[in-house]
Each structure stands twice: as structure tokens, then as C-alpha cells.
């Protein structure tokens, strides 16, 4: 098999158990989506890490640019009123 043509890259998301969301765990190469799911099963769920797998072509992900980090994220830094820290949490409310 010729290695000249590299398989496309896929990002892998695994849900650890029901009720949790899928979490990005890593990436892999695969010729197509069906094989990507199977490769993900072999690479990322060998030790019962998950009950569900998503694979996404890495090329289809649009990411924020590190160059825009200041414009994107810094303005939120001094707006503490956006955080729910000015409420009194009633006794007995957990997981807030």
C-alpha cells in the first residue's frame, strides 16, 4: 500500500457515560468516516473510556485564531457581573 497519500485527519469525541457530553479526546487518521469511528474505538476506548463516539473531519472545524485572543477573550475579564457570584445560593442546592 502506498503511503504517499496520507489519510485525512479526524477529531475524536468520546462520551464517557450517559448524561455527560462528548469530550474531545484526540485525533487520528482514517480513509473515511466509517473507518474513523472504528479506529477511534481501537485507539480511544480500549479501557472502557466511553459509550459513544463522534468523529469529525478536522478540516471542517473552524477555530478561533490565537492572534485574535485578546479581542476575543480579554474583554470578558473585567465584567465580573456576568458571573453568577452575586447570588446567595440557598442551602440544599447542589451542583451549582
Amino acid at each position: 500500500m502506498s503511503a504517499a497519500v496520507e489519510w485525512p485527519l479526524w477529531e475524536v469525541f468520546v462520551r464517557a457515560r450517559r448524561g455527560l457530553s462528548h469530550v474531545h479526546v484526540g485525533s487520528l487518521h482514517a480513509p473515511d468516516a466509517a473507518m474513523a469511528v472504528r479506529n477511534a474505538r481501537d485507539l480511544y476506548t480500549r479501557r472502557q473510556e466511553g459509550v459513544s463516539i463522534w468523529v469529525v473531519p478536522a478540516a471542517t472545524i473552524t477555530a478561533s485564531s490565537p492572534d485574535e485572543k485578546d479581542a476575543f477573550f480579554d474583554p470578558a475579564a473585567d465584567k465580573v457581573y456576568r458571573h453568577p457570584t452575586f447570588y446567595t445560593v440557598p442551602d440544599g442546592v447542589k451542583h451549582l
Binding site: 500500500m1 503511503a3 489519510w7 487518521h29 473515511d32 473507518m35 485507539l43
Partner: protein, 273 residues
């Protein structure tokens, strides 16, 4: 089976029809060794792909399959040693027997060849093991039924992996199609042995311990042919038909495999880590 079975018999699950004769330990040992040797030798072959597969991802996939098979071999050989009652454990059985004592089918000892051959063999053998283990879960022998119940999920995945690759190679590029077809041609003379039945199996089938290999032929080949049809390749019709593995007669390839597999255990008996 009846409760008054003598020391030469093995207890089996209740609730099944009582076989006429108690299951002989020698028969059960011999049958379990066939299952165990198939898994062991095939595992050794599959493990040869580790660090040699076309892609890192496939390396891990084939390594996983090899480890599944090794796990099946270990439980089967351990059980065989227990049934035999002569103090042989999985290691003794794996490492201290010579070529003529191995009773695997020849199909699993053939060299790995190219990826096309490996996929062709994986498709046929995993389809065979899937039907075999599915049927074996109904065995009156509790241990074999339990081993089969665990193994069937593993070989189900092996079969899926082989299916995925067969479709991609067969219906892929002209070269992958050609290699897939060639792999099937090289494999074909060794397929029939999987479905052969001899007196030992016949006795155990009547006692509802073993699976009738002849009855597996149709479902296995139906599955294989359906995949091949979708992959635009076909099983060639060969007249050549090799056999003998169950009697300890092997191709010239098994000796080299065993030499490598058994070297360490024989050079350093009892070595541990």
C-alpha cells in the same frame, strides 16, 4: 447428562437432553485443543502486523484483534489443561508441544502475506469463528459455552473490521482490487478444512458439546459471499483442498512460527517477569 458420571466424565450444564454416553475427558481435551490452537496460532500470525501495518491506526486495530485471539487461546488452553488433568497449564501447552501435536486448521498458520491476503483470511476466519462461537454458547459444557459467549463479541468486531476492509480493497483502486482477489485465491484451498467433521467431533456433536463444523459452512460462506459481492470480488472455485491440521499435519510454515513463538520459553524454562 446423568449425575452418576464416572471420573472419566465431565459435568455439564443441567437442563439439556441427556446424552447417551458421558463425555470422555480425552474427547473434550482434544476438541478444546483444536479451538485453542486455532486461536493461538492465528493470534501469533496477526501479531506479526504490529509495527508493520500500513498505518498506525491499523497497527493498533490488528494488534487488538491479535490480543483478543490470544485471550481466547489462553482460556481455552487453560481449560484444556484442566480437563486433561495431567498438570499441563496454558504455557506448557503453548510452548512445550511440537509441530505434530498442534491441531489448528492450516488456514490460520499461513504466512500473513500482503494486506489483501490478511484481510481475506480475517474475513473467512472471523466469519467462521462468529458462527462457531455463537453456536457453541449452547454447548452442554458450561465452560466452553461461557468462553464462547465472551469470544463471540470479540470476533463480531473482527468480522466487522474484515468486512470494512474487504469493501474498501475490493471496490477500491485497481491494485487493491487485484490484491484482494489474489488473497482470496491463495486462501481458498484452505477454507474447506474449517468445515470438516471427523469421528471425534461427531461424538461430541451427539453429546451436544461440540458444534457441527459442517453446519457452519452455509452461514459462513453466505456471509462471506455477500460481502465479496458488494466488494466486487469473488471466491474462486478451486479444486485444490488442503487438510490435515486437525491430525497434526501442517504446512511448512507452522514450524517456523513455533520456533519463534517457543524459543524463549524453551531456552529459559520457567522464566517469569
Amino acid at each position: 447428562m446423568s449425575a452418576d458420571s464416572g471420573p472419566a466424565a465431565v459435568s455439564t450444564r443441567q437442563g439439556h437432553a441427556s446424552p447417551a454416553q458421558p463425555v470422555s475427558r480425552a474427547d473434550l481435551f482434544a476438541y478444546t485443543m483444536r479451538l485453542g490452537d486455532d486461536a493461538l496460532v492465528y493470534s501469533a500470525r496477526m501479531a506479526e502486523w504490529i509495527a508493520a501495518a500500513p498505518q498506525l491506526e491499523e497497527d493498533v486495530a490488528l494488534g487488538n484483534i491479535a490480543l483478543d485471539l490470544l485471550g481466547q487461546a489462553r482460556t481455552l488452553l487453560t481449560y484444556a489443561g484442566h480437563v486433561e488433568g495431567a498438570g499441563r497449564n496454558e504455557d506448557t501447552l503453548a510452548y512445550m508441544r511440537d509441530e505434530r501435536d498442534f491441531v489448528n486448521a492450516q488456514i490460520v498458520e499461513l504466512p500473513i502475506g500482503d494486506f489483501g491476503f490478511t484481510v481475506a483470511r480475517m474475513l473467512v476466519v472471523s466469519a467462521y469463528q462468529y458462527e462457531l462461537y455463537t453456536a457453541l454458547t449452547d454447548s452442554t459444557d458450561e465452560t466452553l459455552a461461557a468462553i464462547a459467549a465472551k469470544a463471540v463479541k470479540e470476533v463480531d468486531y473482527h468480522r466487522d473490521h474484515a468486512t470494512q476492509w474487504t469493501l474498501r480493497l475490493g471496490d477500491g483502486t485497481p491494485e487493491s482490487h487485484e490484491r484482494m482477489q489474489r488473497g482470496l485465491a491463495e486462501l481458498d484451498p484452505y477454507v474447506g478444512e474449517l468445515f470438516e467433521r471427523d469421528e471425534l467431533v461427531q461424538r461430541l456433536v451427539e453429546q451436544e458439546v461440540a458444534v457441527d463444523p459442517g453446519a457452519l459452512r452455509d452461514p459462513v460462506l453466505r456471509y462471506v459471499d455477500s460481502v465479496l459481492a458488494e466488494a466486487t470480488v469473488a471466491r474462486p472455485a478451486t479444486d485444490v483442498h488442503h487438510r490435515g491440521g486437525r491430525d497434526g499435519v501442517h504446512t511448512e510454515h507452522l514450524g517456523y512460527l513455533l520456533a519463534e513463538m517457543q524459543y524463549l520459553a524453551r531456552s529459559h524454562p520457567g522464566a517469569s517477569w
